[in-house]
Symmetry: C2
Subunit: 342 residues, 2 copies
């Protein structure tokens, strides 16, 4: 029952052609007569032929695998990235190798280079904060390993990168709060290792400035993109005098922490405190009250990055080096006009 699996030789024999011609057909190479092509395809189908990827990899010196490096505690983010990358991989007949890691470990550099040198992967996609880890970037460039960064921060050797316009989205979010009449808006910065934290702060400050409010006097706390850090920062912000009437947390996890801090302080949201987050994680919709936030096209970011990487691997170098996608404000019930009691 368990017959030997058909090889390219079997297909060639069956079709009465050379294995090279079979190879050409299967790889979509030019210069094959349609009639020949059909014969090959028929034979392949008849034998239920499945090319052996290992042999292909060895002979072609390419692995058709791309590696995805990340170090992110947010499952939803990681899943979305994986999802987007996988969608493109399937379409282009590549495989995806996930490689979660710890940014800080210098061994990461060796790991990444090794992945390539063992010809396990052809190229890498780096997400934040790995994408901003300079030693790695330099090593990859030096070793001539193809990669695409998902990050808004510039980096050595203007490597291609894909990002979301965090600054603009943060500016729009702040505009939204200001339009609701808030003038004393607390801000919680994200993790210092992430470029996004910086950009979101910039957007916040830009909006204040544009509306004649002093960015330097705005109450700001440093968080870590975690629920607990959001909770702690909110406690500090809410202890200030005058108390902010709105808090803009740089991500939804911290915003959830803010919500809990408000709950414990018996502050009604949004009546007494408007709260907004960032990222539109699934739970944002289910928070009490549902969170106003900014939705990032994460899947698309991953798709663009993957496409870009594969293009580079195939030698098609599109002029483009930076792709910037835009987020969208999602207005829910956690923000309302300043001083409104519902």
């Amino acid at each position: 029952m368990t017959r030997r699996r058909a090889t390219i030789d079997d297909v060639a024999a069956q079709a009465g052609l050379s294995i090279k011609t079979v190879s050409r057909v299967l790889n979509g190479e030019p210069n094959v007569r349609p009639q020949t092509r059909d014969r090959v395809l028929a034979a392949a189908k008849g034998l239920a032929y499945q090319p052996n990827v290992s042999a292909r990899r060895l002979a072609s010196k390419r692995s058709f695998v791309i590696g995805l490096l990340y170090d992110n505690p947010d499952s939803d983010y990681v899943m979305a990235i994986q999802d987007g990358a996988l969608a493109v991989c399937r379409r282009l007949d590549y495989h995806l190798l996930i490689h979660p890691c710890r940014t800080l470990a210098p061994s990461l550099v060796d790991e990444a280079v090794s992945l390539h040198h063992r010809s396990t992967v052809d190229g890498l996609i780096l997400t934040q904060p790995v994408a901003d880890f300079e030693p790695l970037i330099r090593a990859l460039i030096e070793a001539d390993i193809a990669f695409v960064r998902i990050s808004q921060r510039d980096s050595a050797g203007d490597s291609p990168c894909v990002s979301v316009d965090d600054e603009r989205a943060a500016r729009l979010m702040t505009d939204h709060l200001i339009l609701l009449g808030h003038t004393n808006i607390g801000f919680i910065i994200g993790h210092p290792d992430h470029g996004s934290s910086h950009d979101r702060l910039l957007g916040f400050r830009a909006s204040l400035q544009a509306h004649g409010l002093s960015p330097d006097r705005a109450p700001v706390e440093q968080g870590l993109y975690t629920f607990d850090s959001g909770f702690a920062c909110a406690q500090r912000l809410l202890a200030r005098d005058p108390r902010p009437t709105a808090i803009f947390a740089s991500d939804d996890h911290m915003a959830m922490g803010v919500l809990t801090a408000a709950y414990e302080k018996k502050l009604a949201v949004p009546a007494e405190l408007s709260v907004c987050g960032f990222d539109d994680t699934p739970m944002a919709r289910y928070a009490c009250p549902p969170l106003t936030t900014a939705r990032q096209p994460i899947r698309q970011v991953a798709r663009v990055a993957t496409e870009c990487l594969v293009n580079r691997l195939q030698g098609k170098d599109p002029g483009e080096r930076r792709y910037v996608l835009e987020s969208k404000l999602i207005l829910r019930e956690s923000t309302s006009r300043c001083g409104t009691r519902r």
Copy 2:
């Protein structure tokens, strides 16, 4: 700068030995003198030699890759599974290929078999509900493809499987509610395709029975392991007369839905309604109030499954075919004594 990468021939030449001996050392095969071994290792190190995985795969007819099949909307669950599987893979020098999919598609069977026939993967780990997808199981057995299921449901050919004792945990959770004085406990069943749903219901009923309460008269609704389904089921449960004083949702997502339904009905949790979930997803801790739930050792389940699979791939067949791990009750603030107003 970009010199040709060292191959096994270079190492052999450098060490003054045959490539076969180098291969033996690098693969930990026996019958090599310690002194010879050292010479090989020194040469390999000196040349920064990295074995080419593609060549190894082709020659050994093994890919050293295991595939992970899942179809699960819960990012936290998937991440935990990936995490556990990766930990073992790294230790045993395997790679992990993730393969999210749609259970219902019959093409999944072809995909899975194809993954193996192209020698992309040596074996597969199946999580629920894929693990309970009979056509796939049968196809894998027929094609003689190694796999391990993560599921509590029995399946054709008593294939190895790893699971969590859901029934016991659900029983303990129900015991907990009954001990708090609840006698009218609503239950929300999970997704019908998941074996866990069934087991949790069994545990619930067993506990009622054991305490002299009639399982058949308990208010039960069919959910889908989603927030929205939990919300809808809760609305129906809370509309019943007499109204349940506690609701046991088969997972945390649905429990969150219950919380929201209670919030909209202005029912205080836990004073007027105790709520408990299952799974201890990260958000359970951050719910308002924090959810009483059952924590599953998901990472460990994945670790055990991966180890089991690799063992089978390496021919070491441990007698064990079923591994059952235990969950742990996590008591938080969403459950309290029946009728207590705090």
